[in-house]
Symmetry: C2
Subunit: 159 residues, 2 copies
DNA sequence: ATCAATTCCTAGTAATTTACTTGGTTTTCA
DNA sequence: TGAAAACCAAGTAAATTACTAGGAATTGAT
């Protein structure tokens, strides 16, 4: 039960976009370079993200992508569901699947388990916003920078 | 992010075994028939379950499988992890993977998300025992039977 | 002693999915 | 006018999935 690269790359790319798109739009190429991902492959992911209105695009030179709405209003669940399809562990408890009732009891019992797993996953991914990830990024970057400063200070201190 | 048939069939089969193995061992063939699964395929799953000591086997005629320990001591997590491997959404937060630290902040931020999803899943599957599923099965079967009785009574009442 | 039922074991395989790449076309700013 | 970008469709190698096939070893029943 693994996420595919769509979900993994997609979340990384969306975080990168959220961190960098304060001023205007940014080109896929720069996301691809920073995140070391294939630009062509990202195109496909962004086509889906655009369709889901999670990103907006501007064509032509100096064009690029920006977030479709403010990062507080985009959840990890929005992104993963767009790229991976339903995050349910089985098709029979997917959102799009009309609740079909099965005749034998074993089925219902295990179905119940799949529903609980589904709810467990959704409860996590629908309650983390892109804004929170941006905040995490910024604070961990701060920590990293002050570490670098420390080291620099140490080095300077040596002479 | 879907379970494979290994996990799905495996849990169904283990529930079937738990429900039926009160007296002695039961043959894979009967599980396969009741659950409408390929016997040969189930063999492969049971090889793994046996290795994990979740089932015991008796060879030869009249042989079959029984639970490796009491159903209160077998969790859904035990079964799924045996058949599916780690239930983590990415390899980088799997149990077997030594916590490798990545240099760039984006990685750590998304890694954090994967960890939360992993914990959400584990929290569900490690807290459901096979015994609970057996209980669910029995009570839903009771309900089903009393429904059948009701219908029978209704039919009888009509003359 | 034999036979049927069972577990156990290895290998093969068709279909599907994944993770891309290739090679364009269209749009727009400088 | 040209470069940089989004947009689009199709192809593809590798891996994975969900089995099947075919047997060997073991054991209880007759």
């Amino acid at each position: 039960m693994k996420l595919s690269t769509k979900g993994r790359y997609g979340l990384k790319a969306m975080l990168d976009l959220a961190v960098h798109c304060n001023e205007g739009q940014i080109a896929l190429k720069s996301i691809a370079e920073r995140q070391e991902l294939s630009e062509n492959y990202l195109e496909q992911l962004f086509a889906a993200l655009k369709k889901a209105k999670l990103v907006r695009s501007v064509r032509g030179s100096q064009g690029g992508y920006s977030l479709g709405r403010s990062p507080e209003k985009i959840t990890v669940g929005d992104i993963l569901r767009t790229l991976e399809g339903s995050m349910s562990p089985t098709d029979c408890v997917s959102e799009n699947c009309e609740t079909h009732h099965c005749s034998n009891s074993d089925c219902c019992v295990t179905r119940n388990v799949w529903e609980k797993i589904r709810d467990g996953i959704n409860n996590v991914i629908d309650n983390i916003t892109l804004q929170e990830l941006v905040d995490d990024y910024n604070s961990s970057n701060e920590a990293l920078n002050s570490q670098v400063e420390d080291v620099t200070t140490d080095v300077l201190r040596q002479d």
